[in-house]
């Protein structure tokens, strides 16, 4: 078995292959020098200096003691017809089963101007570099992108004592895509009350400075002075190594409902690089970048691979995870269950009010498809009580599907 990608998805895949009964060799290839580690703290505890970098590694399981880790090495090409993977050190790995777990990398802004002073937050190395910059006295920070990472980094910067933090986004509200207007508006007010500034409804046109960034130029010509820029403008799937195999890699790796790739039962994709249909919803394949997805996909994909290699096809139910995400910002948490984005046009307050602790439900017709809590622990716990109800909901019918 070869697993390409040594982050959480790769680790969980190796563990789940063992749990599914595969006793043969497993090799995991990863381009970072580190063993798999937990990423959510990078934009929060690690950046804030509250978690040591080396506290993030996952605890290894006994079942994976004989897994070979090829770290600091990258897969450069896959030859699926020959069942072979070429690595950047010149070696080739052959396989009976292949797991694509290469994840995402941050999208970068293609604006004119200096490169130095511009950061992303995806890896340990990124977080270390940004922390060094945020702890410089009097530093002025511009965060480009008001999504999960952007909002978390802005909150962490304020907690570190940075007095000038501005978040720029072309949309009118932070996190409005995943949350909808009601919660996004509540989120904006909370950030502003805690000292974060926003430049919304405007794009970045370029960067000012010589060797190093000194300012961010907005679309209307306004210049925001900046010593540090954090780019949190989405991500790009690491799929180039799969090129040339006739796969659909337009947005991650397209899989079927058993996470198989390109109609090949011996190749699966896991983690946020996998674009899979969720039988719980509308059958439209989507990538999901939530923390829970590597474990969910790894379990299902490992069973799928193990069944194939043991000659037991067709035993597995279609993949139907219940997505969940959270985000910690300042002194509050966002906690989500289900797929709120599918019901974003019909948002109803289920408990509380948007200026305090609030729980909202997202609907398609009268069907509840997701809940999101904003506030303290108690309201997050209330959201969890809707999980059972969300699990009970029948699958959404596929709108406009031809099958």
């Amino acid at each position: 078995m070869v697993v390409v990608g040594a982050s959480m998805a790769g680790l969980r895949a190796a563990e789940q292959l063992r749990a599914a009964g595969w006793t043969g060799a497993v090799t995991v290839v990863g381009d970072e020098p580190h063993m798999p580690y937990n990423r959510p703290p990078l934009s929060k505890e690690v950046l804030a200096g509250k978690a040591a970098f080396d506290s993030l590694a996952f605890t290894p399981k006994g079942s994976t003691a004989d897994v070979e880790w090829r770290l600091g090495t990258k897969a450069v090409a896959a030859r699926l017809d020959e069942r072979a993977i070429d690595l950047d050190d010149g070696s080739t790995l052959s396989y009976d089963g292949l797991v694509a777990a290469t994840g995402m990398r941050p999208r970068r802004l293609r604006c004119p101007g200096p490169q130095t002073g511009r950061h992303t937050v995806r890896t340990l190395t990124d977080a270390r570099g940004l922390r060094d910059e945020l702890t410089r006295p009097g530093v002025r920070v511009v965060v480009v992108g008001a999504g999960f990472i952007g909002c978390e980094v802005a909150a962490t910067a304020v907690a570190l004592g940075v007095t000038e933090v501005t978040v720029v986004d072309p949309l009118p509200l932070p996190m409005v895509g995943p949350l909808g207007e009601l919660l996004a508006g509540a989120l904006l007010r909370r950030h502003e009350e805690r000292g974060v500034r926003f430049a919304l409804g405007t794009a970045v046109a370029g960067f000012e400075g010589g060797d190093r960034v000194t300012g961010v130029v907005l679309g209307d010509g306004t210049v925001l002075p900046a010593d540090v820029v954090v780019e949190s403008v989405g991500s790009v799937a690491n799929v180039e190594w799969l090129d040339g195999n006739g796969l659909d890699v337009g947005d991650g790796v397209l899989t079927d409902e058993w996470l198989r790739v390109g109609g090949r039962a011996e190749v699966v994709a896991v983690g946020d690089v996998a674009r899979f249909p969720n039988a719980r919803y509308d059958g439209v394949p989507r990538r999901v970048e939530h923390w829970s997805i590597p474990a969910d996909t790894a379990k299902h994909a490992a069973k799928s691979l193990a069944a194939h290699l043991a000659g037991r096809e067709g035993e597995l139910a279609p993949f139907a995870p219940l997505p969940t995400f959270w985000s910690d910002q300042h002194d509050f948490r966002l906690q989500s269950f289900g797929a709120p984005v599918l019901g974003i046009d019909d948002v109803r307050v289920l408990d509380g009010d948007p200026d305090g602790d609030v729980l909202v439900g997202y609907h398609v017709g009268e069907r509840l498809v997701g809940v999101v809590a904003l506030g303290g622990h108690a309201v997050a716990t209330k959201a969890a009580r809707y999980r059972a109800e969300l699990l009970k909901q029948p699958a959404l019918t596929v709108q406009g599907a031809s099958k």
Partner: protein
């Protein structure tokens, strides 16, 4: 089987409660409660709970 939760790490996400409801629960304020010496028959669900903890705060000791 002995279950140890590092309460300095725990942030009350409650994912363990879904994975192992016989071992983990939340009080009304949203804080974690757990059984530290569950029956060995619950090992699979406790392992699942340890895996899904976002803070990796759950440890199983034999």
């Amino acid at each position: 089987m002995k279950v140890v939760v590092d309460m300095n790490k725990c942030q009350d996400h409650g994912q363990c409660v879904f994975a192992a409801p016989d071992v983990f629960s939340m009080d009304d304020d949203g804080h974690l409660l757990y059984v530290s010496d569950p029956d060995d028959a619950l090992r699979d669900e406790v392992e699942e709970a340890a895996d899904v903890c976002p803070l990796q705060a759950i440890r199983i000791e034999d």
